[in-house]
Assembly symmetry: D3
Homo-oligomer: 290 residues x 6
């Protein structure tokens, strides 16, 4: 169950409102790298957590924190769109700078749909999508999903930080960047607890590894048709990172034949030319139709 | 540029066609854990690769391999739907078992839309979505996206393996499971080359870390309102995994105030009750409308 | 800022696990009538609230409660999928009833993607979509969005209640149905405070109504080509519900002409036949291309 | 069955074509507040209407009218994009102002995809989505969906009206605003016929209300962790709006326990650490795999 | 402007209601091959039609007819779901066959979301998507889109016809199949009027064809790495179908080099390893950040 | 199985980088007219091909070529975004022109999400959608889908060609335009092989045409309510294009009655007013609930 106190986790000040920056901030709210995604992701992982209790609790702790991050950013969007009134007040020549920004690059729906507040969309107005909420039921896979989310999230936040000269916004973003640093470390710490690279991989570690094809599990298969690929590195020779195999570099070759699906079945209503002539089955199928 | 030879990377045999298993295989084709995603993801990462050439080449190698995996699975779907004709042939009582399966749990669009072949959708028929193709421009973030993709992919493949008794399908899946083992290791190997956990994190390592808020970058913030959270572990004390800080456990507290967005601006056409009365600006804005 | 205590707002018991009912419950989690939608909707409305403070606070209160409802339902889904192990244990003949249900009507992704836990999707597996989160910036419009959400939500919950014989599930749903009753009343209460039907409509009440076309604002326009429409009622005569006009019933007739968009512009690369011949402008445009 | 006469319901004139305004108009065509949505919504509600015949007829009348509104707006978009040719004709310096607008804020797909005509998308280019078409099978819930749609629609239309100085566009919008006034009243009139607030609520009124949890159906539950919430109002004391209960204000408290999902089942292929050691069932499940 | 008469274009009778067939019919309503798509497609093409008036009129005629087809199918869905009550009446053992069908393969949302009526979704419940509405502004391209839509539509309708034994449904579908025959012919007739294959192609015929690369416009490029491709046919030799070139069969070879995007730019916050060391520009960019 | 050589199919040079053109190029990558669509479409058609082997091979040949086209365009996008660094270097006044373009019309996600590289989205940032990948299992229907795709694709490419003055970009586009010419011809050639218009239509030609309603298969049905429709042409008289009927022009009239769905079923929880009073079945259904 959840509670709130109406205050912000961190102060949000906007020195110079900027509808175009409001548009960019939407990426951190409703984008695939954004806070709605991590909030829902950690929540759903917690609600489906099986195994040691502490991971469920930790996921819930941080999922709840991320809800506060959406709140920070939604407030920042609203304040960046607040500038309009003031600009309008100063407007002498009859032009409305807010409207001009909406016309020329800001998000029209910030005026048209939300009346100058944040929305559950990314910086292109593409709606948040529940498919981004990853919870596999496998704790290690989920931890990688989380490290990845916090990495893309921190990359996004630094790009936003570098895109604005507004002190208030830079300050808020430096807080969010710091939290992303912590959260990257946090999910890595779980992986360490779970046994580190060798203990965790290959994920899932509960599948009996002897059942996988032993001829293809540690080979880098090169699909390059000639010899000049530069794709040599740590992955093409030496002990595998999970400690369970030896890397090799091999040319990819077909192990299978050319597939032949045969003629089309009557109930699929392909063109006649796709069916086998003189096939009594097909004839009777068509007879049945008539 | 790309080439093909029309053969399959691995043999695809279906001993007993099963339209319901065809539906489940769609998850591995057009689902978020599927082969279309990894194929496109590695391709786009390669095409946008900046920095050492070998990573571009390697991404291209493996992206090209994944295209062959879609081919394997699409063939498997078509063959699992092939069973219909044979079943129909044996049909005496006039009932068509294929149609019954379509009615009772298989994917109707395998008959209605594709005429018994694979589609670019997941096991619920939800179309493949380009938003799943992650390429951040940051090599380390991308590698985590890739480890995660191969982890979710291997988890999916083991679940499919365990869901069928068909020898041909089990054999094909054991090949794909093996390739996922390799690919997990492959992306981890890049992270090792890039400096391992300490060298890579916090991602992006090119952001001057002193600019992030130093009070919140290694603290586990507990949002639990009372004292009985179990969320203690490797992440709540000791050296941080990136080696750049010390973990602490702290109660989350608001650093900001309650936000006050003030009255609504006339051009947003809120209800009158949301606007500040006696505001001369608002009055003149409405006068202008009339 | 948000907090949690790890407990459920209401007890969740599942007497007889049922993967097919788990699938149906997804509609109440990630569907357009579901809890993710109302949670995010009330949150975003709160975060963008301008005007009297109490509405912001109330929206935040209830948005936070809805997060707990997602938690209830996600737990219910996980428990309905838990049945599998027990069933398997009792399994003698080698058939796995869970797998059979997955094959024949339950949601395959509950096994394949989430490992037997809830997902951010509806009962067809269609992902939650941020476009459903309505916050217009107009308090009255938002209240109607909320009444509507709680009405569709209560209709859904009663249908779910009627679809199960499981006592635990019926009890949990009777709690959620009760909360929907309250929330319908709650948003109606705001509309009453805002002046009731006459004070609130037409929404937005801040638009100077004399600027709308006075000939068409209280007329029911009948598009029926002959005289036998039954579409007469409270809306076709008498005082309008907002008290600002008189209803009439009129035949719809075109007030405008047939549109003529003229010939196509060269830069649109229509077929030549769509362009005006002998047009010197078009000729010069094509000359420029050459 | 449907008919047409090729004329517009209202005249559409564009004095000064404006590709950026064409982009904004798309919100009223393919956006969630737009005419495609209400057209399809009223149609589907009519086609599924059970109960008194007059509601079916009325829904069909107005659904058919809304099709004419899409036509108005689509024509307006095409005419706002028509300006290009004229501008180009006057162009001396070689710069194409249309192209510049497309580059700097107008919708590129108006050139690239539709050749200067309207599309079934919103102002961000996000496609119209059938999930927005609400028809619950419950007449009262549908009426609220309709009031809400016409409220958001009129808010949108007034914002568009205020965003343009073009007389033709303002005139067309003043017609659409007027129709939205009528349609808000129309759906409210149905609710009045159905018994008004007390007769209609809680929706659905066909569910035996004594089956909902009687302890939680008229209580405002405050999730605020301390005492300073401002969320007091009409909803926290006095008779409920539906006349069937008494409002109270209460602190939300957990009625349920902390959920414990237990260990993971082998067929989900979680990490081994998530499973219960020494569980004979799990051991035998893995044995079966080998 | 549009009108209606409330009657159906063709009679809809359902002899034996079948919720699973209702689910399949949804493909013909809200699927990519369905009636909503063609209705909207012909409408949008009409509304954006530039050039000879008759094509605009014809598109409007048929777009309006397609609206009546959605009506037919929506009625058919509702009637196929009507069976439930009757079945329930006959129910003795307490099991509800409708509910069982919903559980085991019919569409749960037909009960949960729409209360036994049609929805704007396909047979998997995936919502209708506005991106499917094709109107390119080029009449010939649009005609191919329309031929294709009616071809996929007729294929779908024949598959549905073959999936049911219900006489009423078969009769309604035989009407829709007939209309698809007409509409395929209708759009082909326009292409014939526009000059047939040689007059129409390559589309757009308004682009000065001498500006396209003359070395690659009539060559079949084989990407097969070895010589055993069977891909020889009408397209690999002889006069091209548009009469403007000669087909050849050639091995595809790279005309370009391997791309080198160089080092990453600081404002993208790639990993340091992706940037060029000793680059003074990068150093100063980072200095500016500090 | 697939291979690559790391080189481009054609040279990609960008003389003057332009982030706004990069945005427009995205339409040709991830848009519905783009290369991802045709690549996947031809691949899936090949993988599901039944009937003569040469069509499968040909589809695979060209699908593989299209992958190289995505590569070309992705490289072009990256190079158009490369300009930023150079511009920044020349920057004196402290303004970053790249950032200004991002702010004022370029795609923010090219900075925020992909770090200056291509994405799997269209020019509005709407993600590529698997529903666009058409493969019906009917070869002729698929060929029309392909002609249509290459027609819309060539229209798009000519519009892009006309939108840029960059020589490198114009050269690359003139190559892609040429390939679209070939591919239009290629799919038309298959249709010719399959028997031309008369042999191919009505699609599917395997459905026994005598089963379609013979009264409505060659009639143009006019839905115009008065006599002044201009919709007369090749389609309204003379031999049908498929040679199997005679075109007529007829007024559309309803063949069916007004539908009456009757009262609502209790388990749908409509409003009471929608149910039939005094219906004993309904009463007992409600009794069962209590």
């Amino acid at each position: 169950m959840f509670y709130h106190d109406g205050k912000l986790q961190y102060d949000v000040k906007v020195d110079k409102p900027n509808p175009q920056f409001a548009k960019m901030l939407q990426q951190a709210i409703g984008g695939i790298e954004g806070e709605m995604k991590v909030c829902m992701q950690y929540m759903f992982q917690a609600w489906g957590a099986r195994g040691p209790e502490k991971y469920r609790d930790m996921l819930l702790e941080t999922g709840t924190e991320e809800m506060a991050h959406i709140e920070l950013l939604a407030t920042a969007v609203a304040l960046n769109l607040e500038g309009a009134p003031n600009d309008v007040k100063d407007d002498i020549a009859g032009k409305d700078p807010f409207m001009e920004q909406i016309m020329g690059g800001a998000m029209p729906r910030h005026l048209l749909s939300s009346g100058m507040s944040a929305m559950a969309v990314d910086s292109n107005g593409v709606p948040f999508n529940g498919s981004w909420v990853v919870g596999t039921g496998n704790l290690a896979a989920d931890m990688y999903a989380n490290v990845m989310a916090e990495s893309a999230g921190r990359v996004l936040a630094t790009r936003l930080w570098n895109s604005t000269e507004d002190k208030g916004m830079k300050d808020m973003l430096s807080f969010l960047i710091a939290r992303d640093t912590m959260h990257q470390n946090q999910w890595l710490a779980v992986l360490e607890e779970l046994g580190g690279t060798e203990g965790v991989h290959p994920i899932p570690n509960s599948f009996p590894q002897e059942k996988e094809n032993q001829n293809f599990n540690y080979n880098f298969l090169s699909t390059h048709i000639k010899g000049d690929s530069k794709a040599h590195g740590r992955w093409s020779e030496g002990r595998s990172v999970d400690g369970k195999g030896e890397f090799t570099f091999e040319k990819a070759t077909p192990q299978g034949r050319k597939p032949d699906l045969g003629g089309a079945h009557p109930s699929g209503f392909a063109q006649k030319e796709q069916m086998k002539e003189n096939d009594s089955f097909i004839k009777s199928a068509f007879d049945k139709m008539k």
